[in-house]
């Protein structure tokens, strides 16, 4: 009895109120579990628990040949499937010192940017939905459907394409591809005004995001944040600009940098990026050179023994692929540096002292895709 009496009296105010947000929660966009400790409505700290959708992709890669790995990368950040494929393909091409045809580079760049727009459209949908404006979700999906139709016509599938192969493409683009892409850009230029009118300019949305979850440039760098989320803080980290691949060195586009680093800025970055992506596509779509859609590759691809690294700018940040090869047809070790994992790590830092509603807004502005976090 004595021990019980002698226990220090717990102050009611200091008691922590834990909430398990997820693994099944509407605004974690998948099976992510956030253990939030609250004081009233205010978030005191937050602990993400990942691994609910861990499929061991990196381990599975070790038994697959390089062409087979492609279809696994689709399933990491499923919203930028093409870009993930691009990373692995480029790594293999770099290791084997294969020069891919110009046509392939052009098509890959265009498709990457289309994929980026589609990804940002879905981000806009879910951002609007997390803010409570359900209508955004439907407008975003409606416009994303146009891109998916283009994808489906050319590549046969809508989300997980496995379109790139080491050395080139699975098949040539559909004859209608250029026409449809141009039609889409014309259409989307009109519809993106709706986005601005409906959500960007809205006073409620502005009040809820301005000055919330401010990420300084130093923190962005030290947490390893990349992509639009880091550029909102003024950290110039666009791989397309600083380590160009594809034909990004031939096109004119701006790397848009923000200043404030708050939720609204992160939102604006992605809105600007959609415009920039459309600009890139417009510059390339009429100039796709004629030629082969794939370089000649050996039937069995074996990478020379050694370590290889390749990075690309995925829709959410920098995706790095690291391969240790022992000269066999499968990698000895494969590691993906996924942007979402690093971006998630800053959530605790950003959301301390914010309200629950702010936590949702910050999470939506970081735009995490759970399968990419867990892999």
């Amino acid at each position: 009895m004595k021990e019980i009496i002698n226990l220090p009296v717990k102050n009611v105010e200091e008691e922590e109120y834990h909430i398990n947000m997820g693994p099944q929660h509407p605004s974690t966009h998948g099976v992510l579990r956030l253990v939030v400790s609250l004081k009233g409505e205010i978030v005191k700290s937050l602990k993400p628990h990942c691994g609910y959708i861990h499929r061991g992709i990196e381990k599975m890669c070790e038994k697959d040949t390089y062409p087979q790995i492609i279809h696994l990368t689709d399933r990491m950040d499923y919203l930028s499937a093409h870009i993930n494929n691009h990373a692995v393909c480029m790594l293999v091409e770099k290791a084997l010192e294969v020069e891919v045809p110009e046509r392939v580079k052009y098509i890959r760049t265009i498709v990457d940017e289309l994929n980026r727009i589609a990804s940002h459209q879905l981000w806009w949908c879910s951002f609007g939905m997390d803010m409570g404006g359900l209508t955004c979700f439907f407008y975003g999906l409606r416009d994303r459907e146009k891109i998916l139709d283009i994808f489906e016509e050319s590549f046969g599938s809508r989300l997980l394409h496995s379109y790139y192969t080491p050395g080139g493409l699975m098949m040539d683009i559909h004859p209608n591809f250029q026409k449809n892409v141009k039609a889409f850009i014309k259409y989307f230029r009109k519809k993106i005004k709706d986005y601005d009118e409906l959500l960007t300019g809205n006073i409620i949305m502005q009040l809820r995001t301005r000055g919330i979850g401010v990420l300084s440039k130093e923190d962005a760098i030290s947490y390893g944040i990349t992509g639009p989320s880091a550029r909102a803080s003024g950290f110039a980290c666009d791989v397309r600009k600083h380590d160009p691949y594809g034909v990004y060195d031939k096109v004119d586009f701006k790397e848009i940098l923000g200043t404030t680093g708050d939720t609204l800025e992160r939102y604006m970055m992605r809105m600007h990026e959609m415009h920039e992506s459309m600009k890139i596509i417009e510059q390339l779509i009429d100039n796709i050179p004629e030629g082969d859609y794939a370089a000649k590759m050996k039937a069995v691809i074996k990478l020379p023994a050694g370590e290889y690294f390749q990075r690309v700018e995925a829709a959410r940040g920098e995706l790095g692929v690291y391969v240790v090869s022992d000269g066999n047809k499968s990698p000895y070790r494969m590691k993906f540096r996924s942007p979402n994992f690093s971006n998630l790590s800053v959530l605790d830092h950003l959301s301390r002292g914010c309200k629950i509603a702010d936590l949702i807004a910050i999470g939506a502005s970081l735009d995490y895709v759970i399968p990419d976090i867990d892999r």
């Binding site: 509407p26 409570g132 359900l134």
Partner: protein, 362 residues
């Protein structure tokens, strides 16, 4: 017996007379009560079902969709099918919940909205109780609903529910002020709180036009505040699905969830019909001074149609709000009330009192 669709007074008096002639007084009144109760209950259920359907259709059209279109023509029976689904669903009992309060809460919410509907004039003579304090009664009764929400949130023994209930409590208690004060603005103009007298007073012009700008401001404030009081978007913080999964009714299932759902829609109907009655003339037709022919045509439209039309117009505006705006945060919600709506309302009352004093209204 000369019934008209324009005046229900003779019809109701005829029923009254028949009952009292044929039955002892006690049974006559009992039968009368039962008739009224059943009529309102039917009306309540039908309107609730229709509103759910209407909301789904309206939001679908705003979102470039077609909405429910499988059950019946244009999906008209979709909500009835949903009702049967909800009726047949298992009622999940929560371990460690306060069972009594958990079961009582939906009834408190639904009874509060059910009581409010009694005082609303649907047409001339179609009016369950015509209190001399009609508006005050509606405000008083509708303030009971929040108790049900608080109890539901607490007794579910769920942290999301509790936060939802807390938010809802803070929200409803503060927005009740604005609802009350914006109605007071019109009470000053009308000089009465009796619904029938308020409607009669708008025979030569709706109050929103009669009261010039202050009445219009009061109308806007009432729209905003009543949207908040009914816990609808963009003020649906109590059930904010992206933050609290479903807020105070996270743990409810089956028919008990349906009660909350129905009560939400009925509260919307009630505030819309109050707005229609107080600001837009209730069942009074639209008249323009001097245009005799036009006024005559307007008179041909039955008052019940006028009333329903106005009410649904306001409901449509509230749906438009919900499907356009993102949700507010709790502190912004309270800022909106205490820093904007309430001061504007108070100044507005003063201006209205001054206008009435000087006789500047029509």
């Amino acid at each position: 017996m000369n019934f008209s669709i324009y005046d229900f007074t003779s019809f109701t008096q005829w029923i009254d007379k028949v009952l009292y002639d044929n039955l002892p007084a006690f049974w006559a009144i009992a039968v009368e009560m039962t008739i009224i109760g059943v009529a309102i209950l039917l009306f309540y259920a039908l309107i609730g079902l229709f509103l759910v359907y209407a909301e789904r259709k309206v939001c679908a059209f705003m979102q470039n969709r077609v909405g429910p279109n499988r059950v019946g023509p244009f999906g008209f029976f979709q909500t009835i099918a949903d009702l049967f689904k909800l009726l047949m669903k298992e009622l999940v009992y929560i371990k460690n919940a306060d069972k009594l309060l958990f079961n009582i809460a939906p009834f408190i919410v639904i009874i509060a909205s059910f009581m409010a509907i009694a005082a609303i004039p649907f047409a001339k003579g179609l009016h369950a109780i015509d209190f001399d304090i009609g508006i005050l009664y509606v405000i008083a009764v509708s303030s009971l609903g929040v108790v049900g929400i608080l109890l539901a949130g607490w007794s579910s023994n769920n942290k999301y529910s509790l936060i939802g209930a807390m938010r809802s409590g803070a929200q409803i208690v503060s927005y009740e002020l604005s609802v009350g004060l914006s109605l007071v603005t019109i009470i000053i103009l009308a000089g009465t709180m009796q619904f029938s007298a308020i409607v009669e007073g708008q025979a030569n012009g709706w109050f929103i036009f009669k009261g010039h700008i202050p009445a219009f401001i009061a109308f806007i404030v009432f729209l905003i505040a009543s949207t908040a009081e009914t816990n609808r978007g963009p003020f649906d913080l109590a059930e904010a699905e992206s933050e609290l999964t479903a807020g105070f009714h996270t743990e409810y299932s089956g028919i008990k969830f349906a009660f909350f759902f129905l009560a939400e829609y009925m509260n919307m109907f009630i505030v819309a019909s109050i707005a229609a009655t107080v600001f837009l003339g209730g069942w009074m037709p639209f008249h323009v001074g001097g245009w005799e022919g036009f006024n005559h045509i307007m008179d041909f439209i039955p008052p019940f149609v006028w009333y329903i039309g106005k009410t649904f117009f306001i409901i449509w505006i509230m749906m438009w709000f919900k499907w356009t705006f993102p949700r507010l945060r709790i502190d912004q919600l309270l800022t909106l009330e205490w820093k904007y709506l309430l001061p504007i309302n108070l100044v507005n009352i003063l201006i209205m009192a001054f206008i009435v004093l000087m006789g500047w209204h029509f």
